[in-house]
């Protein structure tokens, strides 16, 4: 049995060569993780909207078909919006990647078990909705392969990454949502978007 991957190391690896990738961070630990890897104007960390991360990614991916969009979220957040995988599966935007950091816990509320620790196989769910490139990642080698695919393969992709349910210091992004929105839009669309 290999040791579980560490979520902050996973996210640092996923975002190391991010280029102009646009990143949505799901509510809770995933938002802290993308911030710990380096706060960025092309990050949109969520402070609410639980279950909505994948759909925000879909709307963004359809609006920006030339940019790579990466949704990084947790298992609890993904479980709340499971239907959104079906919605993505029928559209399959080639520029959308979804990564679930699966610690099998609701980390923010006291480490209660989620369904993924009791048998729910998110990668299989994603595949069954029509996201053909769907994988379960447990090792560093599998993570390297995922990073290569996310960077090079133009296809809608899903990955469930099993991570250590460790308690980590919270790394807060800015929490004024209008600011996060405007920072993101200015970065993606330019200052002129404010004058439209």
């Amino acid at each position: 049995m290999s040791k579980l991957l560490k979520r902050r190391e996973v996210v640092s690896r996923l975002l190391a060569d991010r280029g102009d990738t646009l990143v949505i961070g799901g509510l809770g630990a995933s938002a802290w993780d993308i911030t710990a890897a380096g706060d960025h104007a092309n990050n949109f960390p969520l402070w609410g909207a639980m279950g909505g991360a994948v759909m925000i990614g879909l709307g963004l991916a359809l609006a920006q078909p030339k940019r790579r969009v990466l949704v990084i979220t947790g298992d609890g957040e993904m479980l709340m919006g499971l239907g959104s995988l079906a919605t993505v599966g029928v559209r399959n935007p080639k520029n959308l990647g979804i990564v679930v950091l699966d610690n099998e816990r609701y980390g923010e509320t006291g480490q209660q078990l989620t369904h993924t620790g009791m048998g729910t196989d998110l990668a299989a769910v994603a595949r069954a909705t029509g996201i053909a490139k769907s994988s379960l990642v447990r090792t560093g080698n599998e993570l390297d392969l995922l990073c290569t695919h996310l960077a090079r393969t133009r296809a809608c992709q899903f990955a469930q990454i099993k991570v250590d349910p460790e308690k980590l210091p919270i790394v807060l992004p800015p929490r004024e949502v209008s600011y996060l929105k405007n920072r993101f839009r200015i970065s993606v669309l330019g200052e002129e978007s404010l004058y439209a």
Binding site: A49, A53, G59, L60, A61, L62, A63, S84, R91, V188
Partner: protein, 190 residues
């Protein structure tokens, strides 16, 4: 598709879907998120036939609220179509456009409203407007076919000018309520 839309107009006698489609086009709406309702079927067909619009079929209405925030982040505009029961599903997700000042337009066809047959539609239908207003969504309502385009036009402008979610409620009187007893006696429901 044009034929289908024409046939639908003839069948329902409603003129608003075509006019609303034109308004959405004029307002540069590119993404249309949908949980279907019979009252929206004509507009959905028009969107399907429109190459400038992307139709996204949702499994539940709050997906559309989240999606349209992503749409705006990416520089496009969208609308969300649903029936009134779906409003209840959206409430927590609306915190994102409310707190982040995202424009977001919902076109809601009413059930549980005028002459409803199904008792289960009434609790949500009778409270759709006050639930939306309780969370500070701007609400406009139209109760006759001719008033729908103006309500949509006003809501489109106010949501994209003031960066706040808005909803147009399209009264059940316009579509007419189904009588399930009659439908259950017919072999062919359509």
């Amino acid at each position: 598709m044009k034929k289908a839309a024409k046939a639908a107009t003839a069948a329902t006698g409603m003129a608003w879907p075509k006019k609303v489609h034109a308004l959405l086009k004029e307002a540069n709406i590119r993404q249309v998120a949908v949980v279907p309702d019979a009252g929206h079927s004509q507009l959905i067909r028009l969107v399907e036939a429109d190459k400038t619009m992307q139709l996204v079929r949702l499994t539940t209405e709050e997906e559309g609220v989240a999606m349209l925030c992503g749409t705006w982040l990416g520089g496009e505009r969208g609308v969300l179509l649903m029936q009134s029961s779906g409003v209840g599903n959206c409430i927590n997700m609306l915190s994102l456009p409310l707190v982040g000042h995202f424009p977001l337009l919902m076109l809601v066809t009413m059930r549980g409203d005028h002459g409803e047959f199904n008792p289960s539609q009434v609790p949500m239908g009778n409270n759709t407007q006050r639930v939306l207003e309780a969370v500070d969504v701007l609400v406009r309502r139209a109760d006759c076919d001719a008033d729908v385009p103006d309500a949509v036009s006003g809501a489109l402008r106010i949501t994209f000018n003031s960066f706040r979610p808005a909803a147009v409620l399209i009264g059940q009187q316009i579509m007419g309520a189904k009588d399930f007893r009659k439908l259950s006696k017919k072999d062919d429901h359509e």
